[in-house]
């Protein structure tokens, strides 16, 4: 039924044939008939038939919550009954209230909406079949990526269609506060988690017991986003561990025999919120989730969003994943009901599993032709894009070249079969006419705003306008990035070190992997596997020649290497710029609120002066990632006492990191291989 990581991820063109368009049948039958279909799923064999009130009762009466309530009462001086009352309130706010009637309503509505929005929704039937099997054997955790609001409930919709138990879904609390819709979501299986829980002990306790009880009893599959939130950049986000930890704990403590994780990769030809995302990244705040906002958004229904792919990954057995990594007997000496800080071994394992899942999601997602074009468009000088435009002919040729490279790199490509390449190209551009337009054999970037406006834009405003368009392109490029990252980092290492020595390249590779660990998903402890993979891919496409000690660049490989290196150049430029800002401009202590606009100002200035060639540093996501990376490398520390996220910077350390990144000094052997066991 399940299999280890090694077996998954081998993609081939054949996979495409296994996808079935689930909208096709929907278009042929009535929506109402579909919504009222008999629904009789096979449940987990150990699951008792329990209602939501049973679940709540079990949580409230758990030994764990009793203990915590007592502890809190003691700490705060209030009565245990009061604390328990508070816990009850938290639970009420949190709980799902899954009802089949509302699933039917949801299915009915979604059916209507999806048929408008998408040409097709492709689902891999084999994955669904494996899921159906897995659900009967052990508690199942559904782990989709999250790229759009549209995919909230898509999994429920599909499972309803195929007679598989409906999941309960972890959602952010803002959704709950939407009038009517919040309640509908709740009754469709959503449960709601506050955003900043911080150190609210009681809240953590209620939430974790609630999640664990769902997993323990196996009353319904549990769905949550291991990335924590919707990725604004369409790039995978470094996983959050809180929820993952709660989900895995019942296995660690022996309360269930096994847990099955099902990574689900959802990919879009075109993301509904594309322009909103870019604006948000540039600091324009996102609109608050509200019901009226939802109705206003109904204009999006007029547009064409191409296809959606939902790829159900191979179910992974937690038992198999964790074998040899953890020792479950560490829970033997303390009652399992008591709170216990997991050992570093367990924490590392949770972290590893979470990364593995995100990687698997990446491998399962489909890359559209548009993503390939975005990669290439972004490598053209910005003035070409905004002014005269890129030659259509050249772009087509290069895109086809890139298609081959993606296949060489074992990426999953969503390239329509039996269609002439030129048609694919032009229909792709047509679908994305909000970003580029194709005219007279040239492709230009579409920039928002009225060019005939009375007030000419200031130069700074001009930069932001272009940035909004570029960041949209960037997000589509990001959808393809995971295929190129590992060979890309090797190509960058070759470019910067100019070395052919394998060990030298490896140590620089590790350094880059370390610096960019917030940017790309690297499975902890797999540096040498990643390096080997990069080597073998570059060798496979004829870019390099490998020997025991050396990596030599081949004449035929220059095109590939230069493409890869340019692909990652914006990241290097962005990081260097922020390093420079921290070393030269910034104070020793700064807040996040000061930092973000200051970096944006500096970057804007440099873009205008022609000294900076990337707009990506303007993205708050990039800025935050750099900060996280520096904290991880201990060049920046967060001040503890501070309420408003104050940071202290070690300028020498930042400078040194920058110097290594530019190749001025070699990377010190950073790795004492802390997690060798992983």
């Amino acid at each position: 039924m399940t299999s280890t990581y090694k077996d998954s991820g081998t993609a081939s063109l054949k996979d495409e044939e296994e996808f079935t368009d689930i909208l096709e049948e929907r278009r042929r039958t009535t929506d109402l008939g579909y919504a009222l279909r008999t629904f009789n799923p096979q449940l987990y064999k150990g699951a008792p038939s329990s209602s939501t009130s049973d679940l709540k009762k079990a949580v409230l009466e758990s030994q764990y919550l009793r203990y915590i309530a007592k502890e809190i009462a003691l700490e705060t001086g209030s009565s245990v009954e009061k604390v328990r009352q508070e816990a009850r309130g938290i639970l009420e706010e949190m709980s799902h209230n899954l009802q089949l009637g509302f699933i039917r309503l949801m299915a009915y509505t979604f059916n209507k909406v999806f048929k408008r929005l998408f040409r097709s929704i492709y689902v891999n039937m084999e994955g669904l079949n494996m899921l159906q099997q897995a659900i009967q054997e052990s508690p199942v955790i559904l782990m989709p990526n999250h790229r759009s609001y549209v995919d909230f409930l898509i999994v429920s919709f599909i499972l309803f269609t195929y007679d598989i138990p409906i999941p309960v879904i972890a959602a952010g609390i803002p959704l709950a506060s939407m009038k009517v819709v919040g309640e509908i979501l709740r009754r469709s299986g959503a449960f709601f988690i506050r955003r900043a829980i911080g150190s609210d002990k009681l809240y953590w306790a209620v939430l974790s017991e609630y999640v664990r009880t769902i997993v323990r009893t196996g009353c319904a599959p549990l769905e949550f986003y291991v990335e924590g939130f919707r990725s604004r950049t369409l790039k995978s986000v470094v996983p959050k561990l809180g929820m993952m930890d709660m989900v895995l704990e019942p296995y660690f403590k022996g309360e269930v025999f096994d847990i099955t994780l099902v990574p689900i990769s959802i990919s879009y030809d075109r993301v509904v919120e594309e322009s909103l995302l870019a604006l948000e990244l540039l600091g324009v705040p996102k609109p608050k989730e509200s019901t009226t906002g939802l109705f206003k958004a109904s204009r999006v229904l007029q547009e064409d969003y191409g296809c959606m792919h939902v790829n159900f990954g191979r179910p992974l057995s937690v038992r198999q994943l964790c074998e040899g990594k953890i020792n479950r007997s560490e829970y033997n000496l303390i009652p399992r009901d008591l709170p216990q800080r997991p050992s570093t071994e367990i924490q590392d394992c949770v972290n590893w599993v979470a990364h593995l899942i995100v990687r698997t999601q990446e491998e399962g997602s489909l890359i559209s032709p548009w993503s390939l074009m975005a990669c290439l468009l972004l490598q053209a000088p910005i003035t070409t894009l905004t002014e005269e435009g890129l030659q259509w002919h050249g772009l087509t040729e290069k895109t086809l070249w890139l298609r081959k490279l993606v296949l060489d790199f074992r990426g999953r490509l969503n390239w329509p079969a039996h269609t002439p390449d030129s048609d694919v190209m032009s229909s792709t551009v047509a679908l994305h006419r909000s970003i580029v337009h194709h005219k007279a054999g040239r492709v230009c970037l579409v920039q928002d705003g009225d060019p005939a406006s009375q007030d000419p834009l200031s130069p700074e405003e001009g930069v932001m306008r272009t940035a909004a368009a570029v960041l949209m392109l960037v997000s589509y490029r990001n959808q393809a990035l995971h295929v190129f990252v590992r060979p890309g980092i090797l190509a960058t290492a070759i470019h910067i070190t100019k070395s052919t020595q394998k060990d030298e390249l490896f140590s620089f590779f590790c350094f880059l992997r370390d610096v960019f660990a917030n940017e790309f998903i690297f499975i902890p402890g797999r540096a040498s596997q990643d390096f080997d993979e990069a080597c073998s891919l570059l060798q496979k496409c004829g870019a390099v020649h490998m020997s025991e000690q050396e990596v030599t660049v081949l004449e035929t490989g220059l095109e590939v290497l230069s493409f890869l290196q340019k692909l990652l150049q914006p990241f290097l430029d962005s990081y260097q710029l922020i390093f420079r800002y921290l070393c030269e401009n910034g104070a020793h202590v700064f807040t996040e609120k000061q930092f973000l606009p200051a970096v944006q100002n500096l970057a804007t200035k440099l873009i205008l002066s022609g000294d900076l060639h990337t707009f990506e540093v303007l993205s708050s996501d990039t800025q935050k990632n750099v900060l996280s990376a520096l904290r991880r490398l201990e060049a920046v520390t967060k001040l503890r006492a501070s309420q408003q996220n104050e940071y202290k910077v070690n300028k020498a350390a930042v400078r040194r990191t920058g110097d290594i990144l530019s190749g001025k000094i070699p990377p010190e052997s950073l790795h004492a291989i802390p997690d060798a066991r992983l």
Binding site: G46, G254, F257, D258, N327, R328, S329, Y331, P335, D337
Partner: protein
């Protein structure tokens, strides 16, 4: 000290006992005990001990006279399929003996996919030429001869003492494969004989391996293959007398070689019992119980071996260890008895034990309760333990084992009984709505005076009712306990038809009982699948003992090995995985089977490095030359 209180009252009892004994002796096809007189004479020098047990011994020196060489128990008792293809149990010794068991065949076929056409018969007789010639230490032998202690280097005698009853041991014997066996067997007759043997062994550097009842399931009796010295098996079976009974203090002083059934029977003759009844009690010996920390079915009333023992005498290479008095409890540093109990023959030979005895219970009553599912059953047992009102024995079988027990029902003689059975089944499954694939049953045994038993019974049934339990009759209960004695025979039948299996046990805190049962059973199923076992295995468990803070859980695991090239290896891998699972789920390495060599690898993580060092330093002091070289435990 020797002869005690026994007034006219007790001699009366003895007279009655003698009469009863002769009746029992008639039932048992007791072997001829030609040499018992001589042996007793040899030890007469020890004094005027009241030899309560001059008659009625079960185990002869030549075990082969009554026991199987490659299977469990008596030669005359076994399961087989008769010409009509019906299962039947032969012999006359047990309640099931001579009966047809109509449901067994279908159960075996449906549970294991076994088939009467596919047989794997055992090698019929022991081929002495397959046994390696003994490595004898001539100097030792010469001095041994001069003591007059009986010994033998006959191949059969040696093979009998080379194994316990682990699956791999019996499987090898059935295939006629014989590995390293002891080079010599000696039969000391009393404590002083043992002292002489140990002295000679030390003098001549001979390896000694104590042998009691031979029922070990931990590879404890396996000769270490790396042992190059002459290995002498020290068979205690002839040291089997009750030396005295102290009715004022309710203790009995007994030679350690006595087997459980003899001890119980002989004490019964005097109106007493120890109440210590491990499932192996027909064959296992008092010394073996002490050496492995045994546990008996009725421990709730009588206690486990550590609760029963008052005084122990053990012969070690450093001399004899014993306490100076028989105080019921002492604060004199760590209890040295606890170095002996569980030492598994690595420190010396237990020769005599003073044990608590109790007057025989006035009244015994079996019982059983059906629960809708295993979870409810465990919850009930937990409540019974919480209220500290456990009957002498309470055991909870899971659904698979319930079905298994059902398959072992003998043919009913009357239409009325079968009608009644049908009615009961209807009542439970249809009227009460129990799912036959989920329900489980607890068997109960109450003991004491009549009034208290009835009161106690009501209390337990009332608790059971709170957990959805329905009383299911005395008969089911009694059959459950009877099965514990014949179940070991059943494995031999399985092995005739490609089915191998074994049981293993653990102890675990209450809150983990359900989890460990589920996880270990599931692990067994998954491992079998992964290891290429073609048929789904039988993976079942029961909770056999309750304690204040936890329970003892027994797992049974068996599978059809058709299609596997090395079934024993597969079996061992699965059992290994199951033990890992037990430990990961907070279970102990063993509740009462012991460690032997089978579970040695987990000792360090079980008792910590310091704990290992403590045990090792005791071993190093007591037996620096590793005379007791069975290499168990450490």
């Amino acid at each position: 000290m020797a002869s005690n209180s026994s007034g006219s009252d007790s001699s009366d009892r003895q007279r009655i006992a003698q009469q009863r004994l002769s009746v029992i002796a008639g039932h048992l096809q007791r072997p001829v005990e030609g040499n018992s007189g001589i042996l007793a004479a040899e030890c007469k020098a020890q004094g005027d001990k009241l030899d309560v047990s001059s008659e009625g011994r079960t185990v002869p020196r030549r075990r082969q006279e009554i026991m199987k060489w490659n299977g469990w128990g008596y030669s005359d008792s076994k399961f087989l399929y008769n010409k009509k293809g019906q299962a039947e149990f032969t012999g006359k010794r047990y309640r099931l003996s001579g009966m047809i068991i109509p449901g067994l065949r279908e159960w075996m076929e449906s549970t294991f996919g076994a088939n009467l056409q596919h047989k794997t018969p055992a090698a019929p007789i022991l081929n002495s030429s397959a046994v390696q010639p003994p490595t004898l230490n001539e100097a030792f032998l010469k001095e041994l001869k001069s003591t007059g202690i009986p010994f033998s280097h006959d191949a059969e005698d040696r093979v009998f003492r080379s194994h316990g009853h682990c699956l791999h041991e019996i499987f090898a014997l059935r295939e006629g494969k014989i590995g390293r066996v002891p080079d010599l067997v000696v039969w000391p007759n009393c404590h002083n004989d043992v002292v002489k043997i140990v002295e000679l062994a030390c003098k001549h550097n001979v390896c000694l391996m104590p042998y009691g009842g031979g029922t070990s399931v931990s590879s404890a009796l396996e000769c270490p293959p790396e042992e190059t010295r002459s290995i002498v098996s020290l068979d205690t079976s002839q040291m089997n007398r009750i030396l005295w009974i102290d009715e004022k203090n309710l203790t009995a002083h007994v030679e350690a070689g006595i087997v459980g059934q003899d001890l119980e029977r002989l004490l019964n003759e005097s109106g007493y019992c120890t109440g210590h009844e491990p499932d192996s009690m027909e064959f296992s010996s008092l010394g073996g119980w002490v050496a492995t920390r045994a546990s008996g079915m009725k421990k709730n009333i009588y206690g486990n071996i550590e609760d029963l023992v008052v005084h122990i005498k053990m012969v070690t290479p450093q001399g004899v260890i014993e306490k100076s008095c028989q105080g019921p409890r002492m604060s004199t540093g760590p209890d040295v008895h606890h170095f002996i109990m569980g030492s598994e023959g690595t420190l010396g030979v237990v020769t005599e034990v003073t044990m608590k005895i109790r007057p025989m219970p006035e009244y015994q009553k079996y019982g059983s309760v059906v629960f809708p599912n295993f979870e409810m059953g465990v919850a009930c047992l937990r409540e019974v333990a919480r209220q500290r009102c456990a009957p002498a024995s309470i055991r909870l079988m899971d659904n698979e084992q319930f079905k298994f027990g059902h398959a072992l029902k003998p043919q009913v003689s009357s239409i009325f009984t079968s009608f009644l059975d049908g009615l009961k089944k209807f009542y439970i499954t249809k009227f009460k709505g129990f799912d036959p694939n989920r329900l489980c049953v607890a068997t109960l045994l109450f003991e004491g005076d009549r009034e208290k038993v009835l009161q106690h019974e009501k209390q337990v049934y009332d608790i059971a009712a709170k957990f959805g339990g329905l009383a299911a009759g005395e008969d089911n209960g009694q059959r459950g306990y009877m099965l514990t004695f014949v179940i070991a025979y059943l494995r031999d039948l399985g092995m005739d038809y490609y089915v191998i299996g074994e049981s293993f046990e653990t102890s675990v805190p209450w809150d983990r009982v359900l989890d460990i049962c589920r996880n270990v059973k599931a692990r067994i199923v998954r491992e079998c699948k992964d290891k290429g076992v073609q048929f789904p295995p039988l993976s079942t468990c029961r909770v056999t003992q309750t304690y204040d803070a936890g329970a003892c859980v027994y797992f049974y695991f068996a599978f059809n090995y058709r299609g596997l090239s090395d079934p024993v290896h597969v079996y061992e891998q699965v059992e290994h995985a199951a033990r890992e699972e037990i430990l990961a789920n907070g279970g102990s390495l063993s509740h009462h089977h012991g460690v032997g060599k089978l579970r040695k690898e987990w000792m360090r993580e079980t008792i910590s490095s310091v704990g290992m060092g403590m045990l090792k330093s005791v071993k190093d002091y007591v037996d620096p030359n590793n005379i007791f070289g069975n290499r168990n435990l450490l």
